[in-house]
């Protein structure tokens, strides 16, 4: 069992509030990813959980035990650091056994645990080497092995893949996923890379400015962002935003008049909007279509395009200067400055009120 609960956690450094009150519930065997822009407090939150920083106020509980003021070593947590933090003068074996040796564990038991961890991580031929004789990926695996042998309740990862090259990162990402399945462990993972967040997580925690913006499964966040920040943060290329005004509000939805020059009816339920309220409409690149068939047609000017082979990302500018990105299959490339017409898929539009909070429940999840 490993249920981690965080209650109203706050942390300030020299009067600057870094973590501004976080409530979080992490259940047994979950893979939780903290994601957010740099400086959002995600690493600090992890370090608070690890006990490497002192909490300013609030409470951390692990399986009902208050661990807020417990020393890091006694929290039953293990952490993998961004720079691996291997002990440079110790062999791989010694690196992995260090914690157990300090705790005075039985020698044979230690050896057995190391063999098991080395087998899982394919480190067996490397046990007698020093960290400097290993490649980046191998060091990463040793760092994970060091965590595994301690058999902790929760694994903490602080941007573990950011020092690896792109190809190795993809491979390690898969290995981490596999490891999570094999160990059936609770893992907390900090990253600024939303691809890692989307692919690894059972539960994504989006942080911004020391607060949680939204918690949910990757697909939930992607399809149903709670606010403008989450909508803009997740997804590559970014979601496009169009300003407008609610012109008619009904029980079944809401008609929006966009400043860019078109009207469309969005099937959002339970809106709290009134007619005339300013709104922002969000639309992902894959839900913009070229052509003139549809109920909302925009005339835009083509900016630059990025061709990836399978898709082309066309950046376009609306008549009133708003930026949109359109994802088109194949290698269609408009000339720079060319006039295009495109339509929005009303069912996939997101609507946000003037405070940036999502309006109603988008119907596509239910569908």
């Amino acid at each position: 069992m490993a249920d981690l609960k965080v209650h109203n956690l706050k942390k300030s450094f020299d009067g600057n509030d870094i973590i501004k009150g976080i409530d979080l519930d992490i259940r047994d065997r979950e893979f939780v990813v903290f994601v957010g822009p740099s400086g959002c407090g995600k690493s600090t939150l992890l370090r608070l959980i690890a006990g490497l920083e002192e909490v300013s106020s609030g409470r951390i509980e692990l399986d009902g035990r208050d661990i807020t003021d417990v020393s890091p070593a006694k929290r039953d947590l293990a952490m993998v650091f961004q720079t691996y933090a291997l002990y440079p003068h110790m062999t791989v074996r010694k690196n992995m056994s260090f914690a157990l040796d300090l705790a005075g564990a039985d020698k044979q038991e230690v050896a057995r645990k190391i063999e098991a961890a080395a087998r899982t991580l394919e480190l067996e031929p490397l046990l007698e080497r020093k960290p400097r004789q290993l490649s980046g990926g191998q060091r990463q695996r040793v760092a994970i092995g060091r965590a595994i042998v301690r058999n902790p309740k929760v694994f903490l990862f602080d941007e573990p893949l950011s020092n690896l090259d792109a190809a190795l990162r993809v491979q390690m990402r898969l290995e981490l996923s596999r490891l999570h399945q094999e160990l059936q462990a609770t893992m907390i993972y900090v990253t600024h890379d939303q691809v890692e967040a989307m692919t690894l997580a059972d539960k994504v925690v989006v942080l911004n400015g020391g607060r949680i913006e939204q918690v949910g499964s990757p697909m939930e966040l992607y399809h149903n962002p709670a606010n403008l920040f989450v909508a803009g943060f997740l997804g590559t290329p970014k979601m496009g935003f169009l300003k407008g005004r609610a012109s008619r509000v009904e029980a079944s939805g809401c008609e929006v008049e966009l400043d860019a020059g078109c009207r469309l009816f969005l099937p959002v339920s339970g809106t709290t909007l009134n007619a005339g309220d300013p709104v922002t409409l969000g639309i992902r690149p894959e839900h913009l279509n070229r052509g003139s068939e549809g109920n909302c047609q925009l005339t835009v000017k083509a900016d630059v395009s990025e061709r990836l082979g399978s898709d082309t990302y066309c950046h376009v500018v609306t008549g009133n200067g708003e930026q949109l990105t359109m994802r088109i299959r194949g290698d269609f490339t408009p000339r720079y400055g060319e006039s295009l017409s495109l339509t929005l898929e009303a069912a996939h539009c997101h609507l946000f009120d003037s405070n940036g909070v999502a309006v109603g429940q988008s119907l596509q999840l239910a569908a």
Binding site: A73, M79, T83, P88, L102, R132, S135
Partner: protein, 314 residues
């Protein structure tokens, strides 16, 4: 080519991060020619004094008997090695070097660890003060110690002893070598602190945090992380200090003049004694050559012991 770049290797476990270093065999080329002036100058700088010393060591060369410079073979060496001051000189040299190394390394590590761990107001000033004795001339510091601290009448230690009603100790007369060891340690401890303090700051903080999570307390972290991290700077301190400590002279000259008897005479002082107090340049030259041999033995031992530590990369 296309296939090799397309197939992503699944992190081969046998791969090693270090590349094998292939050295080209040395050849005589333009580079050799271009460095020759400086090499020649250095050789000249070294060879001329050395050959003069060798020449002086095999002739009778006493300033009191000018003109009697006949060849005497190894007689000078024989006299130097059987001189009453030779064995004490060697032993004192070794004691001096060994104990100053021990004191400066042990205290240096402890003080710099303390400075690194403690966070108090005025830490910058304390650092400067800890390092400052290094910048005082040996003669001056030896005089300060002799007249202000060790002096049996007017010294600080004498005042302390008197305050407790004890008989003041004549430090330089009764414990000459130990007193000199303390003076020299006081001069060289700052050097150790300077090097070790800087090295301490380069210890990776994440390693310390990882160790804390692994359950290591401050002492375990010091023992398992800080000390191994300091191995290389300690080797540097030992090497450099050994070179300078083998030739300590000013401190002995200004305080005890090597006495009483030979109690605080080291090899450097013994050679000075032969050359400029007994005017026997021939014998002093022989002693100088013996000192060169001893210094080289020490250097070889040190390089053997510590050289691996210096070239090994983390």
């Amino acid at each position: 080519m296309a296939t090799s770049s397309a197939a992503l290797p699944k992190a081969p476990v046998t791969e090693s991060a270090g590349e094998p270093s292939e050295r080209k065999p040395r050849r005589f080329g333009p580079s050799w020619f271009l460095v020759s002036p400086s090499v020649a100058l250095l050789l000249l700088w070294m060879l001329v004094p050395l050959s003069m010393t060798v020449y002086f060591s095999v002739i009778r060369y006493n300033l009191l008997y000018p003109g009697e410079n006949d060849f005497v073979g190894l007689e000078n060496f024989h006299y130097f090695l059987t001189d009453a001051g030779f064995m004490p000189g060697i032993v004192n040299t070794l004691i001096l070097v060994g104990s100053v190394l021990l004191i400066s390394v042990v205290l240096g590590v402890l003080i710099s660890a303390l400075l690194e761990a403690a966070d108090f107001a005025g830490r910058g000033i304390v650092r400067v003060m800890l390092v400052s004795p290094f910048f005082i001339m040996p003669t001056v510091s030896a005089l300060v110690w002799k007249n202000l601290i060790y002096h049996p009448v007017s010294g600080i230690l004498a005042a302390v002893w008197k305050f407790f009603g004890a008989q003041p100790v004549g430090w330089l007369a009764q414990h000459p070598l130990a007193s000199i060891v303390i003076i020299v340690s006081w001069q060289w401890l700052p050097f150790a602190i300077l090097i070790l303090m800087t090295a301490m700051q380069s210890l990776d903080q994440e390693q310390k945090e990882a160790a804390r999570l692994d359950g290591a307390g401050p002492i375990a972290i010091f023992w398992h992380l800080t000390l191994p991290h300091l191995a290389r700077p300690i080797a540097v301190v030992v090497m450099i200090e050994t070179i300078f400590l083998l030739s300590v002279f000013a401190e002995i000259f200004t305080t005890t003049s090597g006495g009483p008897g030979y109690a605080s005479t080291n090899l450097a002082y013994l050679i000075y004694n032969q050359a400029l107090l007994q005017f026997d340049v021939g014998m002093a030259s022989a002693g100088g050559l013996i000192a060169v041999v001893i210094a080289n033995i020490a250097a070889i031992i040190l390089v053997r012991m510590l050289g691996k530590n210096l070239t090994e990369k983390y």
